[in-house]
């Protein structure tokens, strides 16, 4: 079976600085991967390189095909990318924003979509529980509602690979859990979901795999139990953590400087 995404010696330089030094990893479809690491570790840069937004050296293969050989539209249909911040520049309606997820599939006018595209947009709205807000303009939404609208937009693309850069940042606890659970549900539909996050507990509870980055390199890749050790927290984040077993799961909270 070909992997959904494989990285071999990926390097990304911005100006004279190398941001990602060496990333090598393989990911399968249907997995939720949490990408962890301290600020400046190169997480966002790696995600943007995988999305094809910035040039990278090394090999990035999507479903066995080199990323560099995918044409623009094909790439956009294969990789959905949710940037940080959820900013939107015009007060478009929620439904028009979600319909932008169908742009790579040739939907140029949300007022004239095929029945199939209508159905996909409606489904994304319903899954993110914002069907009732479809006619509202995004600028009138709360932060949590806007985050769900943006997530619905990437879900509507129905890409086999979904990259989300800090999708839970600046959300309240309820929406943090809801967004991560929805990303998990999306992975169970066969999508490879990679989410950058700083939420250690949600990552360890929900992610199938954890990738830990530090200073531009992937330093660990495996299950939460394998990666999120006291040693790695001390070495990478410089913190001590508190752990508590809750049933089958583990609560992890940063508890002091290492």
């Amino acid at each position: 079976m070909t992997s959904a995404l494989s990285l071999a010696n990926v390097m990304v330089a911005r100006g004279a600085r190398d941001i990602v030094l060496d990333a090598t990893a393989t990911f399968s479809s249907g997995r939720l991967v949490a990408l962890l690491g301290p600020n400046g570790a190169g997480k966002s840069t790696l995600i943007r390189a995988i999305a094809g937004l910035i040039p990278a050296r090394g090999e990035i293969d999507i479903g066995g095909i080199p990323l560099a050989t995918l044409d623009r539209k094909h790439r956009a249909r294969t990789i959905a990318y949710l940037p940080q911040g959820h900013h939107i520049h015009w007060p478009l309606s929620v439904r028009d924003v979600v319909a932008l997820g169908r742009y790579p599939h040739g939907v140029n006018d949300p007022a004239r979509m095929s029945a199939e595209n209508e159905r996909i947009v409606d489904e994304a709205l319903t899954r993110m529980d914002i069907a009732a807000l479809a006619g509202r303009t995004v600028t009138t939404l709360s932060g949590g509602e806007r985050a769900r609208a943006m997530l619905a937009r990437v879900l509507a693309t129905k890409a086999p690979v979904l990259l989300a850069d800090e999708p839970t940042a600046s959300l309240d606890p309820r929406h943090q859990i809801a967004v991560m659970q929805e990303l998990k549900a999306e992975s169970r539909r066969g999508t490879l979901v990679i989410a950058v996050t700083h939420d250690l507990t949600l990552a360890s509870r929900l992610a199938d795999e954890i990738v830990l980055m530090d200073k531009g390199s992937i330093v660990a890749h495996g299950t939460a139990a394998e990666v999120l050790t006291d040693e790695s927290f001390a070495a990478v984040y410089g913190v001590k953590v508190l752990r508590k077993r809750v049933g089958e799961e583990t609560l992890i909270a940063p508890w002091g400087l290492a």
Binding site: L92, E123, T126, G135, T137
Partner: protein
């Protein structure tokens, strides 16, 4: 959460009949523009004259004096409105204007140089061609200074520098004008006017404006994707660098051709998109056609107004659009400021 529920059809559609409505207003203003002037003509006289019937002097007034003027008002006003909407879509900023990258200023400078050198006669081709060449030169200069994949900030700053350079060049040309008449000619030409234009001017400007329209309208859906920001648009498959190039080239071509035959007519490009934006639910893609029609209506109306306003000397249409446009611009800035204050307080 994943089962299908009825979702209300909530895509905000542009107001039904907006484009036909604006087109109707435009046609009305067009006919008024043919009827109004020193010799007032009736609606029937105008239609007769257009059809080649009626009195000889009416034929000359309508077909040779007023028709080119009205056609240019439609083409140039439409181009300015479309350029403004495209620039605002590209920059994702409602305060952007076609003059931001320096093309109209460069076109004006090139035209003024021709006037100052005394190379232009009343119906000559040298002035308009110089203006279009000037607009193009500004695009190449812009890309040479800012680079092909430049950020918007770099492009805007480079545009500012090019505008300033063109402004300085214009001042120098006036300064060095061989005689006071040339300086006066330049000054009046800079004010912007549609008076005394012939069908040759129309034929000169329209092909460029048509090409520019295609360049600006073709990528319209990309303007909507850009609402998510450049990176998200890029991830959706939009070639943002190519879009920038298309818009800058289209604006230079269309606005350059407009300046070439009418001088500088400011603020239509800023005001027209604003008037219609709420009617298209702020969608930058659906904005283009209504903004172009609104621009055409505004310039037709302004060009009628300068004929009607009683004044000892002719008021140039470019002066009128500025006098109305600047307060409108200030109003927009204040509106923007207060809406931001409300958001981030």
């Amino acid at each position: 959460m994943s089962d299908q529920a009825a979702v209300p059809a909530a895509t905000s559609k542009p107001r039904r009949g907006l484009v036909p409505g604006l087109a109707g207003v435009m046609v009305l203003l067009f006919v008024m523009s043919l009827a109004i002037g020193p010799v007032q003509l009736g609606f029937a006289d105008v239609l007769h004259a257009l059809a080649g019937l009626g009195a000889e002097e009416n034929l000359i007034i309508v077909r040779e004096i007023r028709l080119p003027r009205a056609l240019l008002a439609v083409a140039i006003g439409g181009m300015l409105g479309l350029s403004g909407a495209a620039m605002q879509g590209l920059l994702r900023n409602p305060l952007a204007a076609p003059s931001l990258f320096g093309a109209p200023q460069a076109a004006a400078f090139a035209a003024v140089s021709v006037l100052a050198l005394g190379w232009s006669d009343a119906l000559g081709w040298s002035l308009p061609f110089a203006a279009i060449a000037g607009a193009f030169l500004s695009v190449f200069l812009l890309l040479a200074v800012a680079g092909r994949n430049a950020s918007l900030l770099l492009l805007i700053l480079s545009g500012l520098a090019i505008s300033a350079l063109a402004g300085a060049g214009t001042a120098l040309a006036m300064n060095l004008a061989p005689n006071p008449f040339a300086a006066l000619e330049i000054a009046f030409w800079l004010l912007g006017s549609l008076e005394d234009r012939s069908m040759r001017h129309v034929l000169l400007a329209v092909p460029f404006i048509a090409v520019a329209t295609v360049l600006l309208v073709a990528p319209r859906a990309a303007f909507r994707a850009l609402a998510l920001g450049e990176e998200a648009a890029e991830s959706l498959g939009v070639n943002v660098a190519r879009l920038r190039l298309l818009v800058i080239t289209g604006v230079a071509l269309g606005v350059g051709a407009s300046v070439a035959v009418a001088g500088t007519i400011a603020f239509i490009g800023l005001v027209a998109p604003h008037l219609v934006r709420p009617l298209v639910a702020h969608d930058p893609a659906r904005l283009l056609a209504p903004a172009a029609l609104a621009g055409a209506c505004l310039l037709l109306a302004a060009d009628i107004a300068v004929r009607v306003i009683p004044a000892t000397s002719d008021i140039k249409v470019g002066v009128l659009t500025s006098i109305i446009g600047v307060p409108f611009f200030l109003f927009l800035i204040l509106k923007q400021r207060f809406s931001l204050a409300g958001e981030e307080a």
